[in-house]
Amino acid sequence: SSSDTTHENKIRIAYFPNIGHAIPIVGIEKGFFEESIGNQTKIETRVFDSGPQAIESLFANSIDLAYVGPGPAINGFLNSDNHNVKILAGAASGGASFIVHPNSEINSVSDFAGKKIATPQIGNTQDVSLRHYLSENGLKPAEKGGSVTVYNISNPDIYTLFVKGDIDGAWVPEPWATILETELGGKRLFHEEELWPNKEFASVLLIANVDYVEKNPIIIANFLRSHYETVTWINTNPVETRIVFNNFLNSYLGQSLSDDVIDIALSNLVITADPKPNSIFSFAERADALGYLGRNGYDLSEIFLHFDMNSILEEST
């Protein structure tokens, strides 16, 4: 494709303008990544708002690293040529909730029948969780002849539907869960992690183009190091994280969120570099049961890229 020149002195990173992507946002805005990689390598960033687009860009060799949810990470791995897209690290865990519309009578899963529920995108993390949750509770979505109508519609549109009262509930990531709760009076029925073993599941992962990693081990090692360091910084500086995040929103979208929303949203998720492998495998099982992983079976045994950061860093110094 047309955009790639030499990769030697360049690393191209994609992420979303969401609070779950605090690592790359803080890492870029505070200059942590730049500092760690050194000034020989130029960092280019792209801000996306959907997983599939990030995967397409990886496939097209337009980016080298991306922060995405487990759904796209798995699809990216399975659909890539020679499994050229793999998970390098975790970035966040948790951070999705089920929000009930103030006028809706949903108090527990037993009230879901006949209701209209939204999730942001087919096959994304919340969508798989919702559909799995429904089937675990003996419910089926309308298109399979069941009683629950599932809408896959983007977060801003979910907001509009919430305002109008056209939906009864939505399974959404942060900060949308908090926005629906604080701005529109929605009721948080449960945090998604409550449904998972150990109350944790990977919600944002760092994935990479394997070719790039193999060609640029030192850049990647340095990058990963600052990825880990940023995790620590965020967890020790939540207030400053909020400020950085809002500054980013302001400069990128020309708008920011209220401090409350960010604080609550941030407290509802865990910034961690642990990819929580078990949650990814069970997520894949659920997605497969929904027919999302193709007709030919799937094999995730290679999905994690084994990358020995420490020995490379030692060698290079």
Partner: protein, 255 residues
């Protein structure tokens, strides 16, 4: 729907067969990896699969009925508006200019408003469809009417044609060769609008299937649905618009 031999000429068949062969060769040579450039075989397999489980036909039927209503609105609205724009300068200056402006807005930007006004209903999708198609009909009707030989209108008025009579007996038939072109485009844009709206509303139909393919990064499903969309477009063009066009053209002695 009778597809006559004339519509599917040897040339056409050879052309499409050629495309498929080239496509297969490219995918075999491996210029692009399989995940971004699937082979025709894989696409056909996907198609067969979604045909077998019925989801394809259900999707087609859903999209088609939304399209019919949206297109009907676009055609009737577009013809009326186009005629008035061509004949009444005030309307051209006001409503006409607004339609034109509205047309520059991508359907995707309409979706939030459609949701706001109509909710997640068929009506919302039909609105986005109609708004996507009306302009092509309007502007072609407008151009057709503006370009009518003024002598036809003079003769008709001299013989007593007025108001609605003038419109139905002269303006519409005289502008018809261009209006067909508007209908044809209106059809294509409505088809496109309905798919686009379904994709964003993610609410049944072919657009939904397309979105599902994209969300799962399943390029061969995306391409298979795109092909279905195209084929339906071509068939309708051939059995409806080409026939209409040929008939009108031969009447006017243009063939």
């Amino acid at each position: 729907m009778i597809i006559t031999g004339k519509n599917f000429t040897p040339h056409r068949i050879a052309f499409y067969a050629g495309i498929i062969v080239i496509w297969q060769i490219i995918s075999m040579v491996g210029v692009w990896p399989d995940n971004i450039f699937p082979s025709p075989y894989e696409v056909a397999e996907d198609l067969a699969y979604s045909a077998a489980d019925g989801s394809l036909f259900y999707g087609i039927a859903t999209s088609m009925w939304r399209l019919s209503i949206g297109l009907a609105i676009a055609i009737s609205g577009g013809v009326v508006l186009g005629i008035f724009m061509a004949r009444v300068e005030v309307i051209n200056q006001t409503v006409g200019s607004l339609v034109l402006g509205l047309q520059s807005i991508p359907s995707i930007a309409w979706v939030p408003l459609a949701i706001l006004w109509f909710g997640l209903t068929d009506v919302g999708i039909i609105f986005v469809t109609a708004i996507g198609a009306i302009f092509a009909v309007t502007i072609n009707t407008y151009t057709g009417v503006k370009n009518i030989d003024p002598h036809y209108i003079e003769a008709a008025r001299n013989m007593g044609a007025k108001g609605t009579q003038l419109i139905t007996a002269v303006l519409i038939p005289a502008a018809f060769p261009y209006m067909i072109s508007g209908f044809k485009q209106g059809w294509a844009f409505a088809w496109r609008g309905v798919i686009g709206a379904e994709l964003l509303f993610s609410f049944l139909g072919l657009g939904f299937l397309l979105n599902a393919g994209r969300s799962l990064n399943d390029v061969s499903q995306v391409i298979s649905i795109m092909i279905v969309i195209m084929v339906i477009g071509l068939v309708i063009d051939t059995v409806v618009f080409k026939k209409l066009e040929n008939k009108v053209m031969s009447r006017w002695g243009l063939q």
